[in-house]
Amino acid sequence: MAKIIEGIKPTRMELIALKRRRGIAQKGDKILSDKRDVLVSAFFERIKNREALRDSMLLTLEKAYESLIEAEMVIGEDRIRDIGEGMPRIGEIAVSESAIMGVEIPNIDTGSIEKPQLPNYNFTKTNSKLDDALVNVNKALVAIVKLAEIEGSVQRLAIEIERTRRRANMLEYVVIPNLEATIKWIEFQLEEREREDFLRRKRIKALLERRREES
């Protein structure tokens, strides 16, 4: 239910101020719904690639685990861990942020991790399963990082879409109706006062006329 805003005197000044506020609120409502439309279209654009990427991540990771376990059986867990420590570190990924309607969307450059690490371990003391594991984990990693970019942006967009919707609803269902109810109330009060004034003037006129006739 729309409520009349409390603490406002029914004067013409207030009426003008309220009408201005209503105009601003309506404009704000329009801007928010435009913003939501843009965010929603960005959201769908990003989410459509997610499923395929996620599937390929799951698949390559599964393969990677399989070959890793087979390699572990032959070479031993500790040896593989040592080999891992000896592998060159992957280095940094470049994460930049671009903004869509004030929402910060991460962009990740996967260039630096896309080419597989070259094995620097002793081929005579390991087996081909380890090489397979290496290749597959790397593929999975690339998929994971690409997925991270999508999930990060989709998540930000989803949260912002909800916030925008909540604010638009607040304007649409609370602020604007309240302003309108108050405007109506003031207009009614002013009309009522005018009618009273009109009546009063008529009565005074009649009184004055009667007095003039008597004199």
């Binding site: 685990y65 593989i80 290496l134 949260i159």
Partner: protein, 102 residues
């Protein structure tokens, strides 16, 4: 920015092999590890096994709601599949649409 992996032994071995900094965690020390990694500004992507992530689900959800980075990606461990899709859950909660898949 850095990539960090957290999970059980096999997962850390796997990611260590390709040169990703990996932390072996269990359900006991996941909380403090998660906090220290998240408060590190140089971490861009955090890879976590879902079985570990499940034990601090609320913390992760709260973190994701208020922060952009690190981006948390949940992966299966060697036992297999992903049971829940946190992003789909978030989308259902915020926008109210269902995603296909898991």
């Amino acid at each position: 920015m850095k990539i960090i992996a957290m999970g059980d032994k096999d997962t850390t071995i796997a990611f260590n092999l390709v040169g990703v900094e990996s932390k072996e965690v269990d359900e006991e020390n996941i909380r403090e590890n998660f906090k220290s990694v998240c408060s590190d500004d140089s971490v861009g992507v955090l890879i976590m096994t879902q079985s570990i992530a499940n034990s601090i689900r609320e913390e992760i959800d709260l973190w994701k709601y208020h922060h952009n980075l690190p981006i948390i990606v949940e992966v299966p461990d060697k036992k297999g599949k992903l049971e829940i899709d946190p992003l789909a859950r978030l989308i259902k909660k915020t926008i109210g649409i269902e995603l296909g898949g898991i």
